[in-house]
Symmetry: C2
Subunit: 247 residues, 2 copies
DNA sequence: GCGCATATGTCCGGTATCGTACAAAGCGCG
DNA sequence: CGCGCTTTGTACGATACCGGACATATGCGC
């Protein structure tokens, strides 16, 4: 096991830490590869590990009793899956699942709590990240109730784009339908509209974002509201034009 | 300004504190009365005060750009409105508004942060409360997407009942419709069904819960999932039969 | 007790999405 | 190169809710 080097780390929380605090974490971090569909936490189970995401993205899902999962938030290299342990949670209320290939640094939950108590910048950053994630979930609650699927799809694709960092995503409409809690054929119609408008392109499990601005126009306000919070988390000015891809 | 006496305080967080930590807060607490429709925080504004709710309940609302508010969570005597300041938030992402008459202890946000840093039990409790509130919001996100209005209405009435502590609530269907993000006439139909089933009774702005068990049966799983989390927050056994009213 | 504002019940056509089914198209693997 | 699985497009009636309107009922002030 070799220690990660901070300059080479892509997770934005780890990268933002003072070197002294990063050093406290480094020994506990294990690099892991994430495969599509892999569960990092199961709803109701103990949270034994947390994951600082390096690439790809993770979905946090609430499991309803009829067996249907529904996405409540996305976690990319700006975040940590399982961060609720620092609020004192022991069990995961949500399922966290990798929706792409990707990588992460895994760390035991108890080690994180340990270091968190001794590293004030880490503590601040994790609490602020927790808050921003909460804002994302709250916006999703409102969005689910009010906005049409076309807008929600565009919002989701933008969020996925931001977190993955590449315009070409390996995603089936089936998967997206589960995330958004709608039928696949409904996604097919909405995606077809976006495709005919020339903002995205589909090819059998691959979706390419052709016109990012067009996609932003098709999305509801919820995308921008949440993206602004995430930008503020890392100290970027919220009223500047956003970079092409925020992470 | 007279200091509150802990034994007389009804807010469950304040009541659960060790006397020494309560003493640190007591000087900063001002008793305030809340009137129906009163805003405690406005979306986007600085959070200058937090409110330990004593009676009645508060709605946390996301304001969508079309001007329509949508409720994401309820806060009663088990909680604090504005608690996100302890995560480092400066601005409120949501509107918090009193939906009933009621009372609360107000405290400046900066004083809370101050005391929070010196009072470990308070800190723990506030973080755990934050987490449980987050679970509530997440469940709401899934519920908004999947469950029918009849179930959501029953869930909401149960949550309101828990937080107000009395079976008779002063609530119009109009108000409930805004909270749930649906049209009033849709609420009228769903409420009529519940009334004909004999679980609630309506009378011009007053709604009485007649058959609490019947209402629980009419609600979706989301009520019980969240109530279990709140019970655990104050150390009650989640697998025991719930008291008639949890707060 | 009467009038009026407020609250609730109900009706209409319209639409987004459901639930299910089936057909067509793309890619992987032999 | 073609078979088969996966992915996508599309059709169909059913339904929950919308958006707006109107009628009725309740309670409050006078």
């Amino acid at each position: 096991m070799h220690r990660p080097i901070q300059a080479a780390v892509r997770n934005r929380i780890l990268a933002a830490l003072p070197a002294a605090e990063f050093a406290l974490l480094a020994d506990h971090l294990t690099r892991v590869e994430l495969t599509l569909g892999e569960s990092l936490h199961r709803a109701g189970d103990k949270i034994t590990s947390v994951f600082f995401v390096e690439s790809g993205f993770i979905s946090a899902l609430t499991m309803l009793s009829d067996g249907q999962p529904l996405e409540i938030g996305l976690i990319g290299s700006e975040g940590v899956a399982g961060v609720s342990v620092i609020l004192g949670a022991t069990d995961s209320y949500s399922e966290t699942m990798c929706q792409t290939g990707g990588g992460a640094y895994r760390m035991s939950a108890s080690a994180l709590k340990d270091v968190d108590a001794r590293a004030p910048h880490l503590h601040d950053l994790l609490l602020r990240y927790t808050h921003v994630f909460h804002v994302q979930v709250a916006q999703t609650a409102a969005c689910n109730a009010h906005h049409e699927l076309g807008q929600r799809l565009a919002r989701w694709l933008l969020a996925a784009h931001d977190r993955s960092g590449v315009p070409e995503l390996s995603l089936t409409q089936d998967l997206i339908a589960v995330m958004l809690g709608v039928r696949r054929s409904t996604v097919s119609i909405a995606a077809g509209t976006l495709q005919r408008a020339g903002v995205i392109r589909y090819q059998h499990g691959k979706i390419t974002i052709v016109d990012r601005v067009g996609l932003e126009n098709a999305a509801c306000e919820c995308y921008e509201a949440v993206a602004t919070e995430y930008r503020a988390l890392f100290g970027e000015y919220p009223d500047r034009p956003p970079p092409a891809v925020f992470p």
